[in-house]
Structures are given as structure tokens and as C-alpha cells.
């Protein structure tokens, strides 16, 4: 399957990067989605999870928002054609080098304008075989870390089926319990959000 590209890096640091694209697909990018961008002249990929998807406004957009009955064609022009990019932030949670996953911050961030691609189900499955990325999310400042963690773990669980999925979520829950043993309120919030629809029904 061909890689799915979701825009390019506009600014970056070792802690994460910001990507931009012209208009979003209905499914991409999503909060908690896994993505990667090339770094070190193609020697590595920086792996991250998407948070804080935002769309900038300008005077014309605000003017249209204040209009009682916007014209359909002008609305479609604003939403699909105007060069007002969708921006999303990505938190780095590891990197891939020589076909190995390393669960720490990358030695270098991607360069600006590096293309960002969605990780495939197989890549997510392989990357999340180890849960050593969880501390990097829990320790992130100034972002909804607990919701982000729950969203990306649910996303990782969706690449597994049946008992494997349940086993993955239980394992992830245990790791969270160990890391958040001194903050039971946060742990409770993460665990509640970790439950899949199937688990809620049972």
C-alpha cells in the first residue's frame, strides 16, 4: 500500500513538529493519530502522535462567519480552495533508524518541508509492541497529555483484533497504573478513556 501523505513540516524541534496541509480529508489528520517524517537526510524517521489540529482565520473568514446566510459557492471556496492551511502539532515519541524503533527523543528533528506520512497499521502494530513511548506522552507539558495518550492507545489497539486487542489494552493500562501510581485522578481519567466501545458494552 502506498504511503498516505498528510502535508509537510513547517517548524520543528526535537520535542515535536508542526505540519500543514491545504484542506483536511474527513479522516486525516486525527487527534492521537500516528505519523512519521524523515530526518537526518533519510537515515531516520521521527515518529509522533498528532494533537492540536488548528485552522487559522483571517478578516475575510470572520466576515463570512458573521454573515447570516453565506452563499454556498463562497462557503465552498473558503473551505476547500483558499490557501488557509490546516496546521497540526505532532509530539515526538520515538524514531525509526535502521529498521529499529527507539523510544526516546530523536537526535535531530525533521527538516522544514519534510513530508509527513500516516503510519500504516503494520507500522503502528510493530511500534506499539513496546510501550516505552508512554512516558514521553505523560511527561509532555502544555498539551492534553492524558487524552492524547488514551486516544493514541485506542488507535494502537484498533490495529489488533480479538484477544490480542484486549491483552494490549490491559498491558497498556498496567503500564499507565505503574507510571501514574502517585496521581490516581489522572490514572482514573486515562483508564476510563482507554475503554473501547466493546469493553464498555461488557
Amino acid at each position: 500500500m502506498d504511503p498516505i501523505f498528510i502535508g509537510r513540516v513547517t517548524r520543528c524541534s526535537t520535542r515535536g513538529y508542526v505540519g500543514a496541509l491545504r484542506a483536511p480529508d474527513p479522516e486525516l489528520p486525527v487527534f492521537g493519530g500516528f505519523c512519521k517524517a524523515g530526518a537526518q537526510q533519510g537515515k531516520s524517521y521521527v515518529i509522533g502522535v498528532i494533537y492540536n489540529i488548528s485552522i487559522e482565520d483571517d478578516e475575510l473568514t470572520r466576515q463570512m462567519a458573521a454573515t447570516e446566510k453565506p452563499v454556498d459557492e463562497e462557503l465552498a471556496d473558503q473551505q476547500f480552495l483558499r490557501q488557509v492551511p490546516v496546521e497540526y502539532s505532532v509530539l515526538s515519541i520515538g524514531y525509526q533508524s535502521n529498521d529499529r524503533f527507539i523510544y526516546s527523543l530523536p537526535p535531530q528533528p525533521p527538516l522544514s518541508l519534510a513530508s509527513i506520512q500516516v503510519m500504516s497499521s503494520d507500522e503502528i502494530l510493530n511500534f506499539t509492541k513496546h510501550l516505552d513511548f508512554i512516558p514521553l506522552i505523560l511527561s509532555a507539558d502544555n498539551l492534553p497529555a492524558d487524552d492524547l495518550l488514551a486516544a493514541c492507545l485506542r488507535n494502537a489497539a484498533s490495529t489488533r483484533h480479538g484477544p490480542e486487542q484486549t491483552a494490549f489494552l490491559i498491558d497498556a493500562g498496567r503500564t499507565c497504573a505503574r507510571l501514574l501510581s502517585n496521581d490516581l485522578n489522572r490514572l482514573d481519567h486515562v483508564l476510563r478513556n482507554l475503554k473501547t466501545e466493546a469493553m464498555r458494552k461488557t
Partner: protein, 394 residues
């Protein structure tokens, strides 16, 4: 900040007083002008045309049409489905301090099919001109800014014609963000150069192309400073035997634009009567069957007065004139007085300083790949150094 504001303050104060004085003078004269407009709307048209003839070819006034000059027309209902096409242009002029000699014309175009619910079609077409034949005329003189502007005007019209050829099925209006008379040709005097003549011919050909698509075309002039109707009212106030070039130059209404007058008589959405601009260039347009007519339009809730210029085949076609009037009012609703399609065409066309710098860098890189180095002039380089200084803002 290089501007010494305290030093300028006395001048700013004086200027403020002058602006207030001018506006109050306008307000004093305006009732008289309004009275003239109503009074002269009923006088014999033959008499008016006789006076216009006496005023001479260079008289910069408005020639009335069959409409009474004080008439005001409400906007007709727009068609359920119609096309709006707009084009705007931007340019990079040759800069001797840049790494390479070239100029660029960038045209943005948009086609909105109202009533379809579909997103518009947009296009940006940039062209770089760098060969000697583009940069120099037959005498070896470098191309001037006004010629580049005129070539941009032709390209804008060309884009309208191209898009317009694909939308013959619905009522359509194509829009430009300036007057329809080619400005360069208007400035070129009695004997325009062959180069200007060729550009004018290309411009008129594009107008014919648009006409053959059965599409209206209009030039939209926001905040117009023209005073052609005011000049007509002054002319009408003179007895025939009084009319001479000297007397016409002593108008008591100098400096008062037509828009001030029509701001008093046009309700939101209404347009004025049609007029023809008296000029040498417009007579050339008439020979090509594209004589330029104009009317003033109150664009909507904000009571802004715009001047709309249309060719004779739009002015004389009730269908094309109605679609021009009604579609413009619809177009101005979102912004409060300026057509949406022109806002977007400008956005698609505009070339910023940052764009220019990026283009220069691309040219430098390409040449470097062939083993040559191109550089900015030292003057340009040093300006960039000082331009990066942090500046205090007010």
C-alpha cells in the same frame, strides 16, 4: 522607525485642517450641484449635445445617454444561476539590483457558478519574461513600468476571455478591478508609439472575444475620483456662447468627485443613468465597437459608491446590463461593497516581496547549477542588512 513623527506633527495638523475645510466647502456646493442635476435632466438633449460639441474634443466630461441624468434604477432580481468570472494581476518589474534581469506577470482568476453549490474554479498563471526582445524595445530602451502594467491589463482580459469561453450556457459577468479604458493608451497623447498601438489592439481583440461569448464585462472602480458628470453639470450651467476652454477650466466645482453627488441620490443597490466618457481614447474604442459607458452604483448597506465601466454592447443590451447590475449587488453583499470574486482574484494574483525573494533565490540556484554565480547588487544587499533591524512600533 525612520519617520520623525514629532517633526511631522505640525504638518499633519495643518493637513487635517485643510481636509476639513475642503469637505465643508464640498458640502456648501453640493446642494447647488444637486439642483443643477435635477434641472438639467429635463432640458433638450440636442442643446446639451451642442454644448458638448462646443466644449471640444479634450473636454473631460460625461456624455448623457437616453436615460434622464438624475435617474436611479433599483437592482433587478438576479438570475437563479449565473457565472461570475474575475481576474486580477500582479507584477515584478525589472530591478537592476536583483541577481537577474527579468519581469514577471502573475494573473489570478476565479470562476464562481452561483446556484451550483460547487466550489469555484481558480487559477494562477505566472509568466517570466527574460529575453532581450521582452526587456528592450526596438530602440534598445528598457521596458517601462507602464508598458508592463498595460501587458498585465491585457493578460487579465485574456484570462476572462479564456474562462468565459467555457460558460456560454448561463448568464455571465466577467469583472476587472479597474476601468475598461486602457490606462497606458489614455496617457500616451495624440501619437501613441507602435508598441502601445499593438498592445491596444490586443486589448480590443480580447474585448471582442468576450463579446462573442455573450458574456458581460465590467470594470469595477472602488472609490472613484472621476468628475465627468460634475463637468457635464458645469457645462450645462453655461450659456452656449460663454463656452470656451478657459471658462471650462474655471469650474467652481473643481475637486468634487461624481461619487459625492451620486452618494446623495442613489439608494442602496441602485445604479445611476448611463453615461459615456468623452475622450480621444474612447473614440478609438468606439471605432472598434467597444465604446466605454459608465454608471455609478450604490453597492449596498455601507452606501459605498463605485463606478462601473462597461462596453457599448453591454450598455445597449438590457439582459447584459441587468445581469451586470444584479450580480454586482449580490457580489458585494459579503464584503459590504466590493465584489467577492475580485477579492479572491487579487488573493490569487498578488506577488509579495517574500515571493520575489524566493523567485530570485530559485533563479540564482538554477544558474549556479550551470557553474555561474549571480548576486544581488551591493546596494541591494546592504539594504537587506539594515532592513532586518528590529523596529519599534507605535
Amino acid at each position: 522607525m525612520s519617520l520623525d513623527l514629532p517633526q511631522l506633527l505640525p504638518q499633519v495638523n495643518k493637513m487635517g485642517q485643510s481636509v476639513v475645510h475642503r469637505l465643508s466647502k464640498f458640502n456648501q456646493v453640493l446642494p447647488q450641484i444637486l439642483t443643477n442635476l435635477n434641472a438639467f435632466s429635463t432640458i433638450d438633449t440636442d442643446l446639451i449635445h451642442n454644448k458638448i460639441q462646443r466644449a471640444g474634443e479634450n473636454w473631460p466630461g460625461a456624455i448623457p445617454t437616453d436615460d434622464p441624468i438624475n435617474n436611479s434604477f433599483p437592482a433587478p432580481k438576479p438570475p437563479n444561476k449565473f457565472n461570475i468570472i474575475a481576474a486580477d494581476g500582479s507584477q515584478i518589474r525589472p530591478d537592476r539590483h536583483a541577481p537577474a534581469r527579468y519581469y514577471l506577470i502573475n494573473i489570478g482568476g476565479i470562476h464562481i457558478q452561483y446556484g451550483s453549490g460547487e466550489p469555484p474554479y481558480t487559477i494562477t498563471d505566472g509568466r517570466i519574461f527574460y529575453e532581450d526582445e521582452h526587456l528592450y524595445d526596438e530602440k534598445g530602451i528598457e521596458i517601462s513600468a507602464s508598458i508592463i502594467n498595460a501587458l498585465r491589463d491585457v493578460s487579465e482580459l485574456e484570462m476572462l476571455a479564456q474562462i468565459g469561453e467555457k460558460c456560454r450556457e448561463l448568464p455571465s459577468l466577467s469583472l476587472l478591478d479597474n476601468g475598461l479604458l486602457l490606462w497606458l493608451a489614455a496617457q500616451s497623447g495624440e501619437q501613441p508609439s507602435r508598441q502601445i498601438g499593438r498592445i491596444l489592439q490586443r486589448y480590443l481583440q480580447q474585448l471582442s472575444r468576450i463579446q462573442s461569448s455573450n458574456m458581460a464585462v465590467a470594470g469595477f472602480i472602488d472609490r472613484p475620483r472621476h468628475a465627468n458628470v460634475i463637468a457635464l453639470l458645469h457645462l450645462c450651467s453655461l450659456a452656449s456662447e460663454e463656452i470656451s476652454e478657459e471658462v471650462l477650466q474655471l469650474s467652481p466645482y473643481i475637486g468634487i468627485p461624481d461619487q459625492l453627488l451620486f452618494g446623495q441620490i442613489l439608494d442602496p443597490g441602485h445604479r445611476s443613468a448611463l453615461f459615456i466618457q468623452n475622450s480621444r481614447l474612447n473614440r478609438d474604442f468606439k471605432k472598434a465597437k467597444h465604446e466605454v459607458y459608465f454608471f455609478y452604483l450604490n453597492t449596498g448597506d455601507k452606501n459605498q459608491i463605485a463606478r462601473i465601466e462597461v462596453p457599448q454592447w453591454v450598455a445597449n443590451s438590457p439582459d447584459l446590463l441587468n445581469v451586470t447590475h444584479s450580480a454586482l449587488i449580490e457580489q458585494c453583499k459579503l464584503t459590504g461593497g466590493y465584489p467577492y470574486a475580485l477579492v479572491r482574484a487579487h488573493e490569487l494574483a498578488v506577488v509579495t516581496n517574500a515571493d520575489r525573494q524566493t523567485l530570485d533565490t530559485m533563479i540564482q540556484t538554477t544558474v549556479m547549477e550551470h557553474g555561474w554565480m549571480l548576486q544581488h547588487s551591493l546596494k541591494s544587499e546592504t539594504k537587506r542588512w539594515t532592513g532586518k533591524r528590529r523596529q519599534h512600533t507605535l
